[in-house]
Amino acid sequence: MQLKRVVVTGMGALTPIGNNVPAYWQGLKNGVSGAALITKFDATKFRTKFACEVKNFNAEDFIDKKEVRRLDPFCQYALVATDEAMKDSGLDVEKIDLDKAGVIWGSGIGGLKSFQDEAMAFARGDGTPRISPFFITKMIIDLSAGHISMKYGFRGLNFSVVSACATGTNAIIDAFNYIRLGKANVIITGGSEMATTETGIGGFNAMKALSERNDSPETASRPYDKDRDGFVLGEGAGALILEELEHAKARGAKIYAELVGGGMTADAYHVSAPHPEGLGVIAVMKSAIEDAGIQPTDVDYINTHGTSTPIGDPQEIKAIQKVFGEHAYKLNISSTKSMTGHLLGAAGAIESIASILAIQHQTVPPTINHFTDDEEIDAKLNFTFNKAQERKVEVALSNTFGFGGHNCSVIFRKYE
């Protein structure tokens, strides 16, 4: 059977460096850091007192007041980013086959704040259960996909994807595959996350996963720098409208890029540590390249997972060198997490958007906060340090990896 072609016709982003796609791109291009001291709770006693929070955001500006109370922040973020993407796509829900319009939405953790708040309220009480009737539907991850479908009347396939920090990319690849197979004409996909809570920061702190550079939050996320000391927690959402090519053409849609390939593998090794030889990461990039029907030499830009952890960063780079060989030196590589922090289940979504924007603007966003080379990382590679670079970007690959050993790579190509 002939697989269908899939294009991106709409995008929405709610990020620590911009609350919509144009603002996000301005932040990326200008190398803005989204990190600052935590405002959502008192982090005085926490090892890490900063994060990349979404700023100047009031859910009631976007969502009915009554509805806001029923939605965990991760779900509010999902609806806001989706709203931008839907408007951007120009899709008219009166004119499309809603039975072939789906939603595949992901979150790494889901309603962590709702879970924490409800459990704390119960613990403060006398043992009488006064659990809110909205607790379960606020907390569970799939309600993001559910709420999006209710808003737009999309009655096609509908579910959530969970693969920790690979979630966003995983959701996009799933949507890509279902459209390729003819199971849907349009799918709203992406991911959202809001884990800036006591349990979120405390939990990642306990794993020694977070940067503790409290005296300089804005330089804390420094992928590939010798003095990197962990990731910076981010929050927000990224939404993409994926559409079957002929369906998009028939309605005269604006096309940002073509989604040409996806790879999904596992390390099968450890809950949080990457495989020492990078087997799963090498395999996932190869798999995506093969799926796209291109050669490694066709790739111009890699938006890396690059979380700014001591062990993870060099492992990914070594894997890139194994897959790309000499061509690795001709690539632009960057970790936009240096600016946005790590959005966990939304990372793959906003980084896919960054990759698409790099193709659209023929400009690679930088890896900011580079001060000192690390001898473990080949300094001859072009990491797009500190300043965006203009260049030809026909093909961009985005990597994300998650706790549990999940690896995903997705490839976008300029649409012609």
């Binding site: 009915d64 009554k66 006064r130 009737p133 539907t137």
Partner: protein, 79 residues
């Protein structure tokens, strides 16, 4: 208006996101104020919490309007 009636009204305004002028004695939570089954459960729980009482399910089922809620609570709320 009694203090209890005032509290009941403000809980309804807050939880259902409606205007105070809509919260009339005859107003039905589901038919007039846009509540669904989960909202009505939450309202009953809020009344229990605010007035420090426990409303049995078979009685909660009969509280479907603003007036019924006020009447029930004026009778049962701990003074």
């Amino acid at each position: 208006m009694s203090e209890i009636a005032q509290k009941v009204k403000s809980i309804i305004v807050d939880k259902l996101g409606v205007e105070e002028s809509e919260v009339t004695p005859d107003a039905s939570f589901t038919n007039d104020l846009g509540a669904d089954s989960l909202d009505t459960v939450e309202l009953i729980m809020e009344f229990e919490k605010e007035f420090n009482i426990s409303i049995p399910d078979d009685q909660a089922e009969n509280i479907t309007t603003v007036g019924q809620a006020i009447a029930y609570l004026e009778e049962h709320a701990q003074k």
